[in-house]
């Protein structure tokens, strides 16, 4: 390279590096884990779905997010919902060992590990204003409302309008636009 070009190159490299150092953040963190992204999606579902007034016992009743079985989020869902509100009610995350132990809730998350019991779980939630969110095809076939799945490296979700109607829940237009509509 000629003298002039080398100087230009050096000057450019130094300028850009200086800018980077001034503006960059130094703390290293983990890449976004699947669990954190899924938790963020579940949070968005609480925001863009409308529950009927009779879904809550009282005006101040919490919005209960229930997880059946072992927590697949390793705490990420609890973290995502901490201090947040949905439909005007404060969000509370509860963990239940099995389907029959679930008290009232507004959103029921069914992890993939619960596939064997998915029929019983969904039967329990049937015809109640509960948004069922799952991870497997068996869950959707059993009548689940929303399914989270990873496709080509990105998180997507299927939504069953029939299941939403049966639960008397209304999804916002934005959610419908981004969803993969599921029909049995």
């Amino acid at each position: 390279m000629s003298c002039r070009r080398r100087t230009t190159w050096c000057r450019t490299a130094v300028t850009i590096t200086a800018l980077m150092l001034a503006l960059g953040r130094w703390c290293r963190s983990d890449e976004p884990s699947l669990a954190r992204v899924e938790a963020a999606f579940v949070y968005n579902f609480t925001q863009f779905v409308e529950w009927p007034a009779d879904a809550f016992a009282t005006k101040d009743a919490p919005f209960v997010v229930a997880i059946v079985g072992e927590d697949p989020f390793a705490g990420a869902l609890d973290q995502a919902m901490a201090g947040k509100q949905a439909n005007g009610h404060p969000i509370v995350v509860k963990h239940f060992a099995s389907a029959d132990r679930i008290e009232s809730c507004q959103l029921l998350f069914v992890p993939a590990a619960q596939d064997a019991a998915v029929g019983a779980i969904l039967a329990n939630a049937a015809n109640r204003p509960i948004l069922t969110v799952g991870q497997t095809d068996a869950f959707m076939r059993g009548g689940g409302a929303i399914r989270l799945l990873v496709e080509d490296g990105h998180m997507r979700f299927q939504l069953s309008p029939d299941a939403m109607d049966a639960a008397k829940l209304k999804a916002s237009a934005k959610l419908m636009k981004l969803a993969r509509i599921y029909r049995k």
């Binding site: 450019t12 992204v37 963020a40 999606f41 080509d152 998180m155 981004l178």
Partner: protein, 679 residues
Amino acid sequence: MNGQLKWITAASAVLLLAAIARAGPADTQDPPATQPATPAAPGFLPASADDLTQLPLEDLMNVEVTSVSKKKQNISDAPAAVSVISADDISRSGYDTIPDLLRLAPGVDVARINSFSWAVGVRGLNDQFSNNLLVLQDGRSLYNSLFGGVYWDTVDYVLADLDRIEVIRGPGATLWGANAVNGVINITSKDSRDTQGWLLSLRGSNDDSDLSARYGGRLSDDTTYRAYFKAKYDNSLDDASGGRAGDDWYGLRGGFRIDKHPSDDDTFTLQGDLGENRIRQPSEAVIPTAPFSMATTVSRTDATGNLLARWDHRSGDNSDFSLQVYYDYLEALYLPVNYNQNTFDIDFHQRFKLGRSDELTWGLGYRLVNSDFKATPDVVFNPSSRNDNLYSAFVQDTLTLQPERWFVTIGSKFEHNDYTGFEIQPSVRLLWKPDKQNSVWAAASRAVSTPVRVDTDTTRLLVPFQGVETDILGNRDESSEELAAYELGYRAQPVKDVSVDICSFFNNYNRLLSLEPGVPVLGPPLIVPTKLANNINGDTFGGEVSATWHVTENWRLTGSYSLLEARFHAGDAANAVSAKNDEGSAPRNQAQIHSYLDITRNLQFNAGVSYVGRVPEFDIPAYVATDLGLVWRPKDSMEFSVGVTNLFDNHHPEYAVTAGQGIASEVPRTVYAQVNYKF
């Protein structure tokens, strides 16, 4: 899953070459959780899960997640030199044209000739009409049968709706057939279900400006569509003295895409585009007296249209197939060229597992090209119109020699074309994965580049060449150019945030096209009749090194260096000039480094510096280009970007034209501002 269908839909060579990843020891066992070679930065990512909830849902859907349980094709498993320019890279580049985007891939020579044409090549032998690089857009070949190259001004799209551009360096002949000699470029647009709603975009610049509108909607539960319109104005570039080169042009383009996903196992796609460009092309007119050429401006029209339909079907994890049909129209009118071609192509390929350690992919294809060259005073083709048939078949087998460690892929493409008859293009590839962080691959392949109409059919092609009026005569007995390629590559992830990819190659070329000047015919004017033959052979060798470093969660650095050494020998003294030109047609060294920084959730700062070495064939000096860009998203629906390319340079030349194709311009410093509005 649908992810697999998307890979096949894109007809990606990476999918077929990376079939190795699928060949696991037991059907139920998942492939090793290899890291992607170039993980894309998904944009601003805060440290805690809490903050991820502040991302709008649309942005959350763009976050990249690696799911261990998916049988996803990983570039790191492909026994080939592959790089991917992602949608994120495209939006951060500040570039407005597809050929300029190709600069981001290592080892690709991109030289802008004037405002509407580029010379794009891989691993040498670059030319305005590089006939050894196969370029595909959504599975449709962009190769023209006239010169054997791509009219890059006709290759355009709403860039925000492009999913990725895959660049495969080295012969892709086994899968893609003839003319995929030095590389394959695969441009893929997004499925219409990922481009829903309105996108309005306006860009202003002293170089490329454009206005585009796209609307995506839903026809039924499982069917989505989009329609777009784009109007582009490309300003004149500079001439050597810094004035206007007078090569401005405008283009209009529109198209649609419909995708139907009735189930996870089937996808149907129908898409089409129409485009027309009106160009002012600075040119040289041939005149009978010295100096035999005169500067002039020619009016040029390039028109294109296409319609493509594809069906992808999957049966479980072990078998899938793809059936595709398309029609493509191209018309180029710029004296002395008056050419149009119609292409009809049908292609089928299928992959299935034979047992636990054997995976077979095979395919059949037929293409009919009807091309017509209307005689002009300086150029005559005989016959003026012809129909060419291309029949092709390929088969490829991937064997697992040792589960998760050793894989070998053997295959070949068999073709019959109307110029040279039967061609066979075999390839052998070996992949060794000593552990999850490293992989080594090696390949040996044969590839050919078949003649095109300008090689065989011209009875008169008067162009000023080397300062003399030359009549280039086609040769009906022209044979294919041949390549024997030997490649070696290594990929590693030495530490968690760094990935490195090293490729090397040795290419042995035979029967390259040569120009054989004959006895000058005394005029006036003096004309040198020149015949085309296949009398050049030689070698190129070199390699590419590329690396990506995730310095922090919000800052990614990528860099690459490529080396090319070329030695060509002429069959005799008459070809010496051609051989020398081939040697000097691409730079020896190229390097680039890019920085992608997310300053805040709404603000990005992107920078790149590239060095391109000297091009000896045209005595084009080396240059350094610096690009800076800022992207600001004040709201979910609005995005503003501003930037500058060639910051420290008033203007510089990058290439020169092929004889008779006009006059080259110089690339100026460019400043741009763009607004994208989504709703």
